[in-house]
């Protein structure tokens, strides 16, 4: 577990600089130097008066298993939300007035967010999960399109492997 700082909450009280035994909290980027941070130390977390520092785990537990019947109904909704997103996107381009395009834009975003939420609850919540590894592996094997960013997929598999 290493420390991370939420810049939006940090009020520059600097207590983390006083207490860090390795100087990991004092950097020019505002982020904590992960290489210097002592795993699980948490002194900065407890001392920060604005609660801007938290610990991020190196490893995550396996994800909750999803029942096939739940996945089937969730999949129906992710399909329809994605479809609606695309239809709103088309309206955003073609609607005859600014207000109509703005409304279509809002609803396109809204539909995407609902699709994302349904999909993440369909076994793809955690980037480090086995499901994500399997998905990336299958895509690397099956997608023949030249434009598919293979290197990105391969790199992700390495970086996220637990």
């Amino acid at each position: 577990m290493y420390a991370v700082r939420n810049i939006r909450l940090c009020t520059k009280d600097c207590l983390c600089l006083y207490v860090c035994p390795t100087g990991a909290t004092d950097t020019e980027t505002g982020q904590i130097d992960r290489n210097k941070c002592i795993s699980g130390c948490r002194v900065c977390v407890d001392t920060c008066p604005s609660h801007a520092i938290s610990l991020v785990p190196e490893r995550y537990p396996p994800q909750q298993e999803k029942k096939a019947s739940v996945l089937a109904v969730m999949r129906a909704l992710s399909a329809s939300k994605v479809k609606q997103e695309q239809l709103f996107a088309q309206l955003e381009q073609t609607a005859p007035s600014e207000p109509a395009r703005r409304l279509a834009s809002a609803m396109r975003r809204s539909s995407r967010l609902m699709a994302e939420d349904v999909l993440r609850e369909s076994g793809y919540m955690l980037p480090q999960s086995e499901n994500v590894q399997t998905l990336l592996r299958n895509e690397l094997e099956s997608v023949k399109d030249e434009a598919y960013p293979k290197d990105a997929a391969k790199r992700l598999m390495e970086l996220l492997k637990q």
């Binding site: 019947s69 996945l71 207000p99 809002a106 994302e116 992700l156």
Partner: protein, 224 residues
């Protein structure tokens, strides 16, 4: 005197209290509340409000009676893969993994570029699609999630259903009022659940997912 509850955000209209801020005097019965009155918290139309009654406990179908879906799940479409990847990019961002977030964004951009165009639909046809979803897909999905005690899925379905209801509410209003609905006002979308709000200021917290307003974004007006 009866009470009526907004199914989206939980705001309660109490006939005894009325809503003096909106010119509705205490003691005004529900039937006399103007049809174009909207929920003061989330903007839902009057027609979606429900009378407050203790609901009959709903019989939850036992998991075993649900049809087992033995056939393999259909493959994810490119549109779904795009949404999956943007969501995983967000997940990486929350873990301060900027590199991984960027890589997922690359994958998402690829899938997005491969989404086939479909037969265009107008606002009314989209309204009908979402209404259909609210009538059949959401209730079926919520029953299945409840039967399997899958509260994570139930959470996503509950938010999605509420947001879909708001979309239906707004699309219905747009059908009647047209562009005037957005005259001199703003459109906001909650970055977390997708709740859409029309008004001058975003609500302090999202009425659906309760996130604070710093996570609620305004849709920019087109530059003239």
């Amino acid at each position: 005197m009866a009470k009526y509850v907004c199914p989206i955000c939980g705001y309660t209209y109490d006939e005894a209290l009325g809503r003096p801020e909106d010119g509705i005097a205490p003691g005004t019965i529900w039937q006399d509340v103007p049809e174009d009155w909207v929920c003061p918290l989330c903007g839902a139309s009057k027609s979606v409000f429900e009378g407050q009654a203790t609901p009959e406990p709903k019989a939850v179908p036992a998991a075993s009676t649900m049809q087992a879906q033995e056939e393999p799940l259909r493959e994810l479409s490119v549109g779904e893969l795009a949404a999956l990847c943007t969501n995983l990019a967000k997940g990486c961002e929350k873990q301060y993994r900027a590199q991984e977030a960027e890589l997922f964004s690359q994958l998402a951009a690829y899938y997005e570029s491969r989404i086939p165009m479909s037969e265009p639909k107008d606002f009314s046809q989209l309204l009908a699609l979402i209404e259909q979803e609210l009538k059949s897909d959401y209730p079926a999905a919520k029953d299945t999630a409840a039967a399997n005690q899958d509260r994570g899925s139930l959470r996503a379905l509950t938010w999605g259903e509420k947001v879909s209801r708001i979309l239906v509410s707004l699309l219905g209003k747009f059908e009647k009022q047209g562009d005037a609905m957005l005259d001199g006002t703003n459109v906001y979308v909650c970055d977390i659940c997708g709740f859409v709000y029309i008004g001058n200021e975003p609500p302090e917290i999202c009425p659906v997912c309760k996130v604070p307003s710093l996570k609620i974004s305004m849709i920019a007006k087109e530059a003239v």
